[in-house]
Amino acid sequence: MGAEFVQFSLTPILIGMFAAMACALPGNFLILRRQALIGDAISHVVLPGIVVAFLITGTVTTWPMLLGAAGAALVAVVLIEAVRRLGRIEPGAAMGVVFTSLFAGGVLLLEQTDTSAVHLDVEHALMGNLEQLIWLRADGWGSLLDPEALRHLPPELPRMALVAGIIAVLTAVFWRPLKLSSFDEGFARTLGMPVTVIGLGLVTAAAAAAVAAFDAVGSIIVIAMFICPPAAARLMTNRLGRQVAWSLLFACLSAIIGYVLAGYGPIWIGARSSVSAAGMVAVVSGIFLALACVFGPARSRVGVAAGG
C-alpha cells in the first residue's frame, strides 16, 4: 500500500466510489417507484448527446460533453413521457422505443462523422476509462497534504465528489416528500405534495448522476449502480433509512472490490494484464445482489414465508 497504490489505484477507487454512491442514492427511490430501468434508458441516450455536442463544438472537452449528455437525457425523458401519453403506451415499451431509437441515431452519427481522430467511440462510452484516471504527481500518502500534487488530481475526482455530495444533500432535504411519494403516491397527493414535480426532480437528479458518472466510469457502472446496490439493500431491511445506508455500503464495496479484483486479480492468478474495471465493479455488485437474494433477511414479499 505504498506510493504506487496512491498513484495508480487511489483516485480511480475514490472516483468509482463517488460515482457508485451518486447513482445508488436516487436508485433507491427509482426501484420503489418501479422506474429502475430509467437509469438504463438514460445511459443509452447519453451517447447521441455526446456525439451531437462533439459535432457542434468540435472538441471533446468536458463541459460541452456534459451539457450534451444532460440535454440528451432530458430530451429522452420528455420523449418517453410524450410517447407514453400521446400513444397511450405502457411505460416500459415507451422507454424501449425511445432509448433504442436515440441510441441507434447516436451510433449512426458516430459512424457518419469522422470521429476516429478523437477518443470518442462506443466502446469508450460503454466501459469508461476508470483505469486511466491516475494521479501521476503523487509519490505516496504524503501527497494528500501537498497542495502542488493535489492540483494535479484528475479533475473527475472533485467533480464526481461534488455531484455525489449535491445528490446526498438533496436526498436529505427532500427525504420526507421523496419517501411518501415513492411508497404511496395517492396519499402524498392528498397531503398536497407536488407529486409530479417530485418525480421529475428525482429523474433529473438520476440523469445528473448518470451523466457525471458516465464521463468518468462508463455506462456499465452507471446502469449497475442504479439497480444492484439498492435492490440488494431492499432485501436487507424494511426501513427506508437503513435501505439507503445499505445501498451506499454495497455501492462503495462494489467499487473498491471490483477495482482491486480487476487491477490485481488477474496478476494474483498469474495472468499478465488487468481486466475491465467497470465490468468487474458491475459483476461484484451482482454478486452482492445474488447473496442478498439468497440470504437477505427481508427478501420475501410481505405475507410469504421466508424461503417460500
Binding site: S101, V107, E111, I223, A224, G286, R301
Partner: protein, 399 residues
C-alpha cells in the same frame, strides 16, 4: 440512389441479397415474437436477454481458442450466447419469483451484471490473443462488413425457422399474451407457452446478434409491436402487422446499408422502424395523434355550432369568435349577426330538440336513456317517434 434501388431489387451481389432476405426474415420474427412479449407487458425482458448474450459470446470464444480452434466461428459463438442468455432469463425469473424485487429491477440487475461480465471477458480475450478477437466487437452493434456466406445463410435460415415456429404456435401464444387467465381456463399450459415465447425471443436475439448487434436487437423486438398496436385492436392482427413492419425495416435497412459504405446495418434498420413508429403515432386511424386532434376539432365544432344556433333562435348576440366563424362559414348567420333563413330554421329545430329533451328529463325515469343527454345528441337518436310525440304533447300543455 441507384445503388439503393439495385440493393432493394437484390442486384448488388449474392451475399448482400442473402443479408437483405435474412434481415427481412429476422425483422419479421422479431416483430411477431416481440409483440407477444409486448402484449404480455414484458417488453423490456428482451433488453435483459440481449445484454445477457455477451458473456456467452466471450466464453465461447475463449473455450474455442482453448480447444485449438479459431474462436470466431459464428455457430459456436451463437450457441454460447444462447446459453448465457437463457441463464440470464432464468435469473430474471428466479429473482421475480423468489424475492420481493419487481420485474424491472430484476431485468436491470441481470442486464448490467451480465453485460459487465461480458466486458470483463472481452478484456481477457484482448490480452490473450492480440488481433485475433477482431470482429467480436461487432456483436455490440452488429456488422455486416466481413460477414461470410455461411453467416448470411445462418441468419436467413435461422430467421425462416423462427418465423415457422411462430406460425405453428400462434394460437396458444396469442391467447396467453392477450388474456393469460382465459388461456389457462381453456386448458393452455401458460407456463410452457411463456417459456416458448421467451425461447423465440431468445432465438431472434441470438440470430440477430451478428446483423444488428446486442444493444440494438432490443429495438427490433419492441418498436414494431408498439407501432403495430396503433393500427389494430385485435391481438392477432397486431402480431402479423408487427411482423410485416419488422420485415420492411429489416429489408429496407439492409438494402440501404448495402448501398453506402458509412451506413451501419443495425442502426439503419432500427431508425427505419423508428420512422415507421413516428408515422404511425401521428397518422394511425383512431389511435393516432392526428386522428385525436381531428376528432377533438370536430367535437368542438359541433358544440359551438349548436350553442350558436340556440343563441340565434333566441336572438341573442354572439361574441365567441369560433362560433361566429362556424355559423358564417355555413351561411347560417349574416355578417351583421342576424340569422339567415337556413340559420333560423336550424336554430328552431335545435331549440325544439332542447325543449323535448328537458321534458324527457323531467318525465322519463329511465336514466340510461336520459343520461345520454349531452347537449349534442338529437333526441331522435335516443327516443322513438311515439315517445317524442308524447313529449311534444307535454310541451303544448305547459305553454
Amino acid at each position: 440512389m441507384a445503388t439503393f434501388f439495385d440493393a432493394l431489387l437484390l442486384q448488388v451481389g449474392y451475399n448482400a441479397a442473402l443479408v437483405a432476405i435474412g434481415a427481412a426474415l429476422l425483422g419479421f420474427a422479431a416483430g411477431a415474437g416481440g409483440s407477444f412479449l409486448f402484449l404480455r407487458k414484458r417488453a423490456l425482458v428482451s433488453d435483459a436477454v440481449a445484454h445477457a448474450t455477451l458473456p456467452g459470446v466471450g466464453l465461447a470464444f475463449i473455450v474455442m481458442v482453448a480447444l485449438g480452434g479459431d474462436g470466431r466461428s459464428l455457430p459456436g459463438l451463437l450457441i454460447g450466447s444462447a446459453i448465457s442468455a437463457w441463464l440470464g432469463l432464468l435469473a430474471v425469473e428466479w429473482i421475480v419469483r423468489r424475492t420481493r424485487l419487481s420485474e424491472d429491477a430484476a431485468i436491470g440487475a441481470i442486464l448490467s451484471v451480465f453485460f459487465g461480465l461480458g466486458v470483463v471477458l472481452l478484456t481477457v480475450i484482448q490480452s490473450m490473443s492480440q488481433g485475433r478477437q477482431a470482429g467480436l466487437e461487432g456483436f455490440l452493434l452488429g456488422s455486416t462488413a466481413g460477414m461470410l456466406f455461411q453467416d448470411a445463410m445462418l441468419i436467413a435460415g435461422g430467421g425462416a425457422l423462427v418465423v415457422a415456429l411462430i406460425w405453428a404456435l400462434r394460437r396458444p401464444m396469442t391467447m396467453v399474451a392477450f388474456d393469460p387467465g382465459f388461456a389457462a381456463a381453456s386448458g393452455v399450459d401458460v407456463r410452457r407457452i411463456d417459456l416458448a415465447m421467451m425461447g423465440l425471443v431468445l432465438a431472434v436475439t441470438v440470430i440477430g446478434l451478428k446483423l444488428v448487434g446486442l444493444i440494438l436487437i432490443v429495438a427490433l423486438l419492441i418498436i414494431p409491436p408498439v407501432t403495430a398496436r396503433f393500427w389494430s385492436e385485435r391481438a392477432e392482427a397486431v402480431v402479423w402487422a408487427a411482423g410485416i413492419i419488422g420485415a420492411v425495416s429489416g429489408y429496407v435497412g439492409a438494402a440501404l446499408s448495402a448501398s453506402a459504405p458509412a451506413l451501419p446495418t443495425g442502426p439503419i434498420i432500427v431508425l427505419i422502424s423508428a420512422a415507421l413508429f413516428v408515422l404511425s403515432l401521428l397518422l394511425a386511424p383512431s389511435r393516432g395523434v392526428l386522428a385525436a386532434v381531428l376528432a377533438r376539432r370536430a367535437f368542438q365544432t359541433r358544440v359551438h355550432r349548436r350553442q350558436g344556433l340556440l343563441a340565434l333562435s333566441r336572438a341573442e348576440p354572439i361574441h365567441d369568435p369560433l362560433t361566429v366563424k362556424i355559423l358564417r362559414r355555413e351561411q347560417l348567420m349574416r355578417a351583421d349577426g342576424v340569422a339567415t333563413d337556413a340559420g333560423r330554421s336550424a336554430g328552431e329545430r335545435i331549440s325544439r330538440d332542447e325543449q323535448r329533451w328537458s321534458i324527457a328529463r323531467q318525465q322519463h325515469l329511465d336514466t340510461a336513456l336520459t343520461g345520454r343527454y349531452d347537449g349534442l345528441t338529437p333526441i331522435e337518436d335516443v327516443f322513438t317517434a311515439d315517445e317524442i310525440a308524447h313529449f311534444d304533447a307535454a310541451l303544448l300543455r305547459s305553454t
